[in-house]
């Protein structure tokens, strides 16, 4: 949305004297991005829902009635209670309980934490790896470039879920089948990171090749700055907006991948379930009529992914200069 087509909201920050503390705030309010954000009701809704999920995850221990990871707090006498609004519902369990007497709502809140932690860390890891390899490939060029890009080409032909499963299986076979829940979280981050780095690397490399020929890089080289400094301080900031888009969309993909791995039984264990694990457990009770054990985690996962995807779609269009 260029200034010619859609005029700015000029009344947002009228006084010219910016204090440095409120300066960035005014810049955000006056930006094109914020303006296009405010114009789309769907995007605002998606952002609010995403924010809500993050807040729920952060404050999970305060909201939930029990800690679902602590076996001492689970009582079998409370097992398979339907949601509160049905005839057999019981008071503390708003969304009912599962086979082990675990409150479904608490399990969702804690599972959400794991899904988001794995998603965010996975995106951070794949982003760091991809950006680093892309910078090196683009800046150094030559044989290093072809090697990295050939690996990327080969990996791109394989779906991420297959690579994640393979990484998972290999790590398991090296460490034996007795990884505890916390290290399983690390394995998932590793598997997701290694599955999703290619897109970052390709994008960064492309931008680096464009930026490299510009005068400011030549100037930086002339004054004798070392290559890593030029790459990180001067080239990288100019490649950030496509990376932001990829990271948002990949957050949704990473959460899906984690949920899928957990659903397939090679992710988080039953003792420390993520949303995917909860869905796998609940799936076993689908036929005996306990629909709430699978329905609510499934709904939470779908809503989370949909809202992040909508945010990603909006960000892609808003940052794309061709669509302005």
């Amino acid at each position: 949305m260029s200034d010619a087509v859609v005029p700015h909201k000029t009344d947002a920050g009228a006084p010219a004297a910016h204090a440095s503390a409120s300066g960035w705030f005014t810049r955000v309010i006056e930006s094109d991005l914020f303006y296009s954000f405010c114009r789309s009701k769907l995007t605002i809704t998606a952002a609010l829902v995403t924010l809500l999920f993050f807040l729920l995850a952060i404050f999970a221990p305060l909201i939930s009635v029990q800690n679902p990871f602590d076996p001492a707090q689970l009582q079998l006498i409370n097992s398979r209670i339907p949601p509160l609004w049905t005839a057999d519902g019981q008071t503390p369990f708003l969304l009912g309980t599962d086979e082990q007497g675990r409150d479904v709502l608490s399990a969702i809140l804690y599972g959400l934490r794991i899904s988001l932690v794995v998603g965010v860390l996975g995106v951070a890891f794949s982003g760091a790896l991809g950006i680093l390899l892309g910078l090196i490939a683009g800046y150094v060029g030559g044989a290093v470039d072809s090697l990295i890009m050939r690996i990327a080409d080969v990996q791109l032909t394989f779906p991420a879920i297959l690579i994640a499963l393979l990484v998972n299986g290999v790590v398991k076979s090296v460490f034996g089948n007795r990884l505890d829940a916390a290290s399983m979280l690390g394995v998932l981050v590793l598997a997701i990171g290694l599955s999703f780095w290619v897109q970052y690397a390709r994008t960064v490399r492309g931008s680096v090749l464009v930026e490299k020929s510009k005068d400011y890089i030549a100037a930086a080289q002339l004054i004798g700055l070392p290559a890593p400094v030029i790459m990180l301080r001067h080239v990288l900031p100019n490649t950030m907006s496509p990376i932001l888009v990829i990271a948002t969309i990949n957050l949704a993909l990473a959460i899906i991948t984690e949920a899928t791995l957990s659903f397939l039984g090679s992710g988080m264990p039953d003792t420390m379930p993520s949303l995917g694990t909860l869905i796998r457990i609940g799936n076993n009770y689908l036929f005996s009529g306990e629909w709430w054990i699978v329905a609510f985690p499934g709904f939470a996962l779908a809503a989370l992914i949909l809202s992040i995807n909508l945010l990603g779609d909006w960000l892609r269009d808003a940052l794309n200069p061709k669509l302005r």
């Binding site: 076979s173 090296v174 689908l286 996962l301």
Partner: protein
């Protein structure tokens, strides 16, 4: 043209070699193959004998050459869990996966093209908007959730369709097919929809975008000026030209359909290669994992190669651009 074909083939062989090295590394270094094959009370001498018979004492290069030569003859070793040759297991499971993937692809193409054409021609109708919404859901809902939803709807609530397995199968040679029995066909419906939904949304979006693009071109305007019927223009001229990229994408995606079948097969307990692979990952059955990786890569690389070569045959413009830099 010949140079291009050769270069692409060498590339394909390179990729297969790289995947082969990874598969071999997994097979050889991830866990000790001997430990996986023996029980606790096997003596050290017996272990050494097995080690020797497997060729694990040879230099690594010899071992790799050995593994590769075997793999080329579809000998992938013996599964740790089943104590059966991996090749036999894969052969037994392959028809199920291929039938599922083919049905899903056909389903995705038919409905994807229909919905895409409709939403391009009648852009502002309610139905077109509904299709767009469906495509967003198809991309956002994880495959396994769609499967569970279908099972709940059609198996648990309505009781119309079976929720797991392939139904009755008929053997034709070593190929077992579920396409010839009623229960087999019924069992195929939900897994195909689950697996095909993602491809369908992809095809629908592609057809819609391509169709909108083509409808703006001069030759369509010229066809209108000539007074051809709308139907002839839309389906005879516009659709025909959008189909080339659609077929390419569908062809290239067939490999990932096979890979995504892993999830669908787990949800529906479909006895295919994907389910075998998932169980192998859970039980750390490295020979099956390595063999599955090799098989799927072979399918991927072959499809990519065929599509690339066919593309230059079909589209003369590409031939010109390829031969120029060469």
């Amino acid at each position: 043209m010949l140079a291009f074909t050769l270069r692409r083939m060498i590339q394909a062989i390179g990729v297969m070699l790289a995947v082969g090295i990874i598969a071999f590394a997994m097979f050889r270094f991830a866990g000790d193959p001997v430990n996986q094959m023996v029980s606790i009370d096997t003596s050290a001498a017996e272990r050494a004998a097995i080690r020797k018979s497997l060729g694990l004492d040879d230099p690594i290069i010899v071992e790799f050459a050995h593994y590769f030569a075997n793999a080329a003859q579809f000998k992938f070793g013996v599964s740790y869990q089943f104590r059966l040759p991996v090749a036999d297991l894969l052969k037994e499971r392959m028809p199920a996966t291929l039938e599922l993937a083919t049905c899903a692809t056909i389903l995705a193409m038919v409905f994807g093209i229909l919905m895409g054409v409709y939403s391009a021609l009648r852009r502002d109708t309610l139905l077109a908007k509904a299709f767009q919404a469906i495509s967003l859901i198809g991309i956002s809902l994880p495959t396994f959730l769609i499967g569970i939803l279908l099972i709940y709807l059609f198996s648990v609530t309505l009781g119309w369709l079976p929720s797991f397995g392939r139904g009755e199968v008929v053997k034709i040679g070593w190929w077992s097919t579920g396409l010839l029995t009623l229960s087999g066909l019924k069992a195929l419906i939900m897994p195909s929809i689950t697996l095909g939904l993602f491809q369908m949304t992809l095809i629908m979006r592609l057809v819609r975008a391509e169709m909108l693009e083509v409808l703006r071109t001069d030759y369509i305007r010229f066809a209108r000026a000539r007074g051809l019927t709308t139907r002839a223009i839309h389906f005879g001229h516009a659709l025909k030209n959008t189909l080339v990229p659609v077929i390419t994408v569908t062809g290239l995606q067939f490999g990932s359909v096979i890979a995504f079948a892993i999830i669908t097969e787990t949800v529906f307990q479909w006895p295919g290669m994907g389910l075998l692979f998932v169980q192998a990952v859970q039980n750390v059955d490295i020979p099956i994992m390595a063999a599955y990786l090799l098989m799927v890569s072979l399918i991927f690389v072959t499809i990519n190669l065929v599509v690339d070569i066919l593309y230059t045959v079909v589209d003369p413009r590409l031939r010109a651009t390829i031969s120029r830099p060469a």
